[in-house]
Amino acid sequence: MSELIINYADSGEEMTLNMGPQHPSTHGVIRFIVKTDGEIMSSAEPDVGYLHRAIEHIAEKCTYEGFMPYTDRVDYVCAMTANHAWAAAVEKLAGLEVPPRGEWLRIISDELDRISSHCIALGAMAMDIGAITPFPYALREREYINDLLEMLCGNRLTYNYHRVGGVGWDMPEGWRDKVLRFLDHFEPTIDEFNRLITNNDIFVARLANMAPISGSDAIAYGLGGPNLRASGIDYDLRRDAPYSLYSQCKFNVPIGAGAMGAVGDSWDRFWCRVEEWRESVKITRQALDEIEKTPKGEFWIHPKKLKPKGDAMARVEAARGEMSCYVVGDGSANAFRARFRTGSFNAMQVIREKSKGLMVADLVALIASLDVVAPEIDR
């Protein structure tokens, strides 16, 4: 892609512009080659690969357990689910069991991290289109979660908490009460957040009917998670293909209905994430109840001689859509091949298609509404 940064077409007014890679609203290092006539784009071609760190290749170089810290870097905004995807895939490959306390700790940490990831997604989306205030409101809540997860595993961003066969540490003394206190505090702030931005007239006018993605398009492009459900597809891996112990949790799945405009528009995607906050709170509460019934200390069965041979694929509901991990083992201590299928990677392909006819300023909102994170695209 060696086009000039600004290039006027011979006929007409269309010009080629370069957006990124170091553009603050691309949520990482992504470059777009935008063809535009005035404010209206005729195409925005994503150019990715600036953050390619060959994580899948690193997986072939370290042991199954040694690779766990690297999975944090697949998606650093929601690292817990990436941990979970790798652990689940390797456990399936080796036929391992996880003790119930380990599963509940996984669910609690997953859901807390999902809340924190949506805090970033929603706050940053509002900020990208000009509303500064919601960002610190969302980030304030995220700080509490970072503190809680730091008490749990010692890290604030790249957790390295899940293990093959369980989780790394049991919850510390008094941690359960702290999480419950946080949830009590957090639930009312969702309504506050809605009053602040979600139902704000200017915000709604800006996002409603913008870049709607139909249900069939969402499936064809392989969208997942909130992006898929905003398009009206009633599917959630946690409910419909339950992994871990999600089958014992009761929660609703918010589906986009086009309350402010068309089904699957950018506002629906925003709203779906806000509602997922509530569901994550519900799931966390149930998990905190259930974990009391499990014996303390039994959170990890350390696998001995982890040298599986075969292939397995595990699917996990991550914050940015379905994250599946395909692992091939050849009977040695290292993976023979690992592949992460991530939500952002597939969401990027929609941008090229949906950007046709959009305003340049709306491209920023579209990227933010799909909640793409650059390291997850490039890995």
Binding site: K92, G222, Y235, D240, G310, A312, M313, R337
Partner: protein, 208 residues
């Protein structure tokens, strides 16, 4: 529909173009020393892949409308490159894995972009990293590596070129550099009382 029935339905339509159905194995079986597949899978011949995939997507009882994952694997010992497709049906909630074996010296497989649009970038990535040629792909360029990169880095026999655009692709290991500069002054000690496991020794006297 369970996986066996899916395979039977495809096999009834396409005969021996699909073969080698294997049910997924659950649990830890120590006696099984072979390659254990954990997902239900069957293999498909490369030349009829698009027909089979279109049937899987459009048939009223299969309706595999979602390509979950597309992976390439380099089985260098078997001299195979494998293109692995994980399919899922949103309306019917069943899934299957389809594998296509390709000869390593001519890894060409028809592109399924016409069946699932999401295959576009997935195929480009596998082409980039593993060099599988997806024939009929509308825009088969590198995705993650630079356009002028040589070779496909995820191949098992890949050797990185020493220079890329006049930049070295490797650097000296700091430990090797230590041995260059300080070999005479520092030597590794196994004495636990020496901090860092190293102790300074006097450089050898030279005659010049």
């Amino acid at each position: 529909m369970d996986a066996r029935a899916i395979f039977d339905r495809v096999a009834a339509q396409f005969g021996d173009a699909v073969y080698d159905y294997k049910p997924g194995v659950v649990g830890n079986d120590k006696t099984n020393k072979g390659f254990i597949n954990r997902d239900n899978e069957f293999k498909c011949k490369a030349e009829r892949l698009v027909e089979v995939m279109t049937f899987l997507r459009d048939d009223a009882e299969l309706r595999m409308d979602f390509l979950m994952c597309l992976t390439g694997v380099d089985y260098i010992k078997e001299k195979l490159l494998q293109s692995v497709y994980h399919l899922f049906s949103y309306p019917l909630r069943h899934q299957i894995c389809v594998k296509v074996d390709l000869p390593r010296d001519k890894p060409e497989v028809p592109s399924v972009v016409g069946v699932w649009i999401t295959a576009d970038w997935n195929e480009r990535e596998q082409y980039d990293l593993l060099g599988i040629i997806y024939t009929g792909h509308p825009d088969l360029r590198r995705l993650l590596m630079p356009d002028d990169w040589v070779g496909h880095p995820m191949r098992k026999d890949y050797k990185e070129a020493e220079m890329y655009r006049d930049m070295p692709t490797s650097r000296y290991s700091p430990l090797e550099m230590l041995s260059v500069y300080d070999k005479a002054h520092v030597q590794v000690s196994t004495d636990p009382n020496v901090p860092g496991g190293r102790k300074a020794v006097a450089p050898e006297e030279t005659n010049d």
